[in-house]
């Protein structure tokens, strides 16, 4: 880590409870961690551990029950427009075209139609969607749909990109392709976003992409461990060091 690294987002003793008919449940308990600017972080953990809840607190959609989320050192209240989210099921509106879907996130941020259109075109190019502008989601493969989801998130030029299992509804080959393209986007200095936090069930995927992995335990979700991945990219599963990391994540999950 570079010594003067800047903390982009910080969770301080965050706890989240939900009221259910049978009483209150604690989903996230006393989680603290920092994400440095420029980092790629993955969050892994069993189903129901509170991973999506954690992401929603990071973009301000959901307030913590206790503790605080600090963004650039300031306590975050309400939705953080400097973040954008990519979803497992793409989150596209079926009655809108590719261009219109990408423009959606911009509408909340700018009234300038000319600016919005130019951002849409710029990010259509970035993710390789030129030619698909007027297509509808139903006409697209899963891979192309997730490119739309990614372009929509990137078009608002967030400083922090949050992704909730972005590759898990894609077939195995498509997800290989999109992971590589995401790394290209992450390392492209022309892009504003250089900090990414991704939730995944796929441990190999987390090791392939991340600088650091947070491992959550279940009920309530707590940090069971943290692992820094010190391997140069591109990372290969055949590399014995890669397998060692897989074993270490599994042992922390167990």
């Amino acid at each position: 880590m570079i010594p003067e690294a800047h903390t982009l987002i910080e969770l301080q003793h965050v706890t989240r409870r939900f009221m259910l008919p049978q009483g209150e449940v604690t989903v996230i308990e006393n989680i603290s961690f920092k994400a440095m600017e420029g980092e790629f972080i993955s969050i892994v953990g069993p189903s129901g551990a509170g991973k999506s809840t954690l992401l929603r607190m990071m973009n301000g959609l959901l307030p913590p029950s206790e503790g605080a989320v600090l963004y650039n050192g300031r306590e975050q209240r309400g939705i953080n427009l400097d973040t954008a989210m990519v979803f497992q099921n793409f989150g596209l509106l079926p009655w809108l075209t590719v261009s219109q879907n990408i423009e959606l996130g911009l509408e909340a941020r700018s009234k300038d139609v000319v600016y919005r259109r130019s951002q849409v075109n710029r990010y259509i190019t970035k993710v390789g969607l030129e030619g698909y502008e007027e297509a509808y989601p139903r006409e697209l493969s899963g891979g192309m749909k997730q490119r739309v989801g990614l372009a929509r998130a990137l078009a608002v030029e967030p400083s922090l990109l949050l992704m909730d299992e972005p590759f898990s509804s894609l077939d195995v080959l498509t997800s290989i392709n999109l992971r590589n393209e995401l790394l290209d986007i992450w390392s492209d200095r022309e892009n504003v976003v250089n900090t990414m936090i991704m939730v995944t069930h796929n441990i190999e995927e987390a090791i392939e992409l991340s600088d650091r992995i947070l491992i959550l335990s279940n009920r309530p979700g707590k940090i069971a461990g943290e692992l820094r991945i010190d391997l140069p990219r591109p990372r290969r599963k055949r590399d014995p060091l890669f397998s060692e990391y897989v074993d270490r994540v599994f042992s922390l999950l167990a």
Binding site: E130, V172, I176
Partner: protein
Amino acid sequence: MKHAALPEIGISQILGLVELLVGKGGREDIYKLAGELSMELGETLTVIKAAEMLGLVHTPGGDVVVEDFGNKVVDASITDRKDLIREKLEHFPLFKAIRDYLSSQEETEVTREEMLEKLAELIPNEDAEASFSSIVNWGRYSELFGYNDDSQTFYLGESRAE
């Protein structure tokens, strides 16, 4: 003239296959690959065949091997990849035939129905609907053709003079 159909596999899967192979040193046994990917052999072969049609890989014996062109595509940026694939598709006889057909139209566009009829003529043994959707997909990716589902018109993409 009769034409071979286009691969009915999307570009993302094809690129994923080539990227995977490059990561393995450029060569793998097909049967082993299918096992490792937990894909059916038939499905794996369909993706490999599509990659082969685009000149990205070849298949000596039971292996699949990345071609120089495949390495070039994998190394290229997201936008350059599209240009490289477009150059390939431009030389596909079926793409040429469709372009000639659209060029012969006053507005270089036709209705979906007209295009389906033309495809039944160009690739007689294939399901025209399936051919149509794969041509729309490849046409969009390469930007050689476009399709608007609201107006149901299929049209010639903007030419890119080089």
